[in-house]
Symmetry: C2
DNA sequence: GCACAGTAATGCATACTGTGCAATATTTGC
DNA sequence: GCAAATATTGCACAGTATGCATTACTGTGC
């Protein structure tokens, strides 16, 4: 299906970005817990009620919504028969090339995480949907019995990805293509630690 | 320093347990988001204000507070020079033998997590302090530069531990001593997945 | 261009969470 | 017992989040 782009859709996208931008700037200026949803709404030029129409809660407005796999990628994974980890990483590559990341916003998020570490759980939590999807894909290969282990793998992968995301945000020389490669390297470091028995 | 056990301390412990028990039973009966802090307070026989003196928020009352390393364990780790993973697991063994776990409460938590999966992030989040401590210990060995990797390792370990905790809660034949061993086995499964390149 | 259907924005009322503060009650150490 | 320390409570209040009704706007068919 083609991407519809009516006036309404463009406005919607722009408003959601303005709200997030307002939230980030206010949080950087005054500190996260000194910012109220009403301040964010006013700064973004909407009512508080509209703010909650766009974001379920204050956290979501700050960190934003992480992307997740589309149907094509899931279908590709089902059809592929490579090694589990390699295929999962490949699926993530599809994902990251599809979603165009905004380095400016990412930098603001990264700076805010440095200043307000209490937001870190929320940041990692924002990847929940992606993490669940990774676990679902892994379960396809491993079987339903291995779901807890699949979730452990998904947790490690999404954590490594989130770390790499912050590295990318602050390194203009790094292209988005390399995010998954760097994350994969982090996972191999982890494997090294787990081998030291 | 000896464990002081005045009337005040015993009451405090008992009240905190009564509040948690009330929170768990009410959440199991009515569903987590149908339970208010006032209901919990009333059920536990205290005022709502006292409820918030014991727990910072509703989540903390439900899931409770996870234990964390004592100074002795940290000192032992600093002095030891075994392989990193082995020493971290040994520190966790110290921790678990020190804190006497209540299987009854753990079962209630486990049942609630099954019924209200939206609480899972809160459950894993409750191990935040322990996770930070594990990362701190790992950083002692790996150096400050490796902190992100140490945190990734700590995340995997605490996740595996949390999973194993739920297994233990439902298996009366399993002694608490074995929790760390089973968690370690889970980490080796993870290592296997990470090796499949 | 126009009317109508669908969608979005807003105001208002309301329930609930969480905190600060002051008053009261209880425990502890002497 | 008495005074200091600590715990409990009520009350007021700011903030988060939701439901509902109203109003404004956009897309579509004619």
């Amino acid at each position: 299906m083609a991407v519809k782009s009516t006036l309404r859709d463009r406005r919607r996208l722009q408003t959601s970005r303005e709200i997030q931008r307002a939230a980030l700037l206010l949080a950087l200026r005054h500190g996260y817990d000194q910012v109220t949803t009403e301040m964010i709404a006013t700064e973004a030029g909407v009512s508080q009620r509209t703010f909650f129409n766009y974001y379920l809660n204050k956290d979501a407005a700050i960190i934003g919504t992480a992307p997740c796999f589309d149907e094509d990628t899931v279908a590709w994974f089902r059809a592929s028969s490579g090694p589990l980890l390699a295929d999962l990483l490949q699926a993530l590559r599809h994902l990251l090339t599809a979603s165009d990341l905004d380095r400016g916003t990412s930098q603001l998020i990264d700076r805010l995480l440095g200043r307000s570490p209490e937001l870190l759980p929320i940041f990692y939590g924002s990847l929940k949907r992606l993490r669940d999807q990774i676990a679902d894909l892994a379960v396809i290969r491993l079987g339903e019995d291995a779901r807890p282990d699949a979730e452990l793998l998904a947790e490690a992968m999404s954590h490594a990805l989130a770390d790499t995301f912050r590295i990318w945000a602050n390194d203009d020389a790094m292209s988005a293509d390399r995010i998954v490669d760097v994350a994969a390297a982090k996972l191999q470091v982890l494997r090294g630690y787990l081998a030291q028995t």
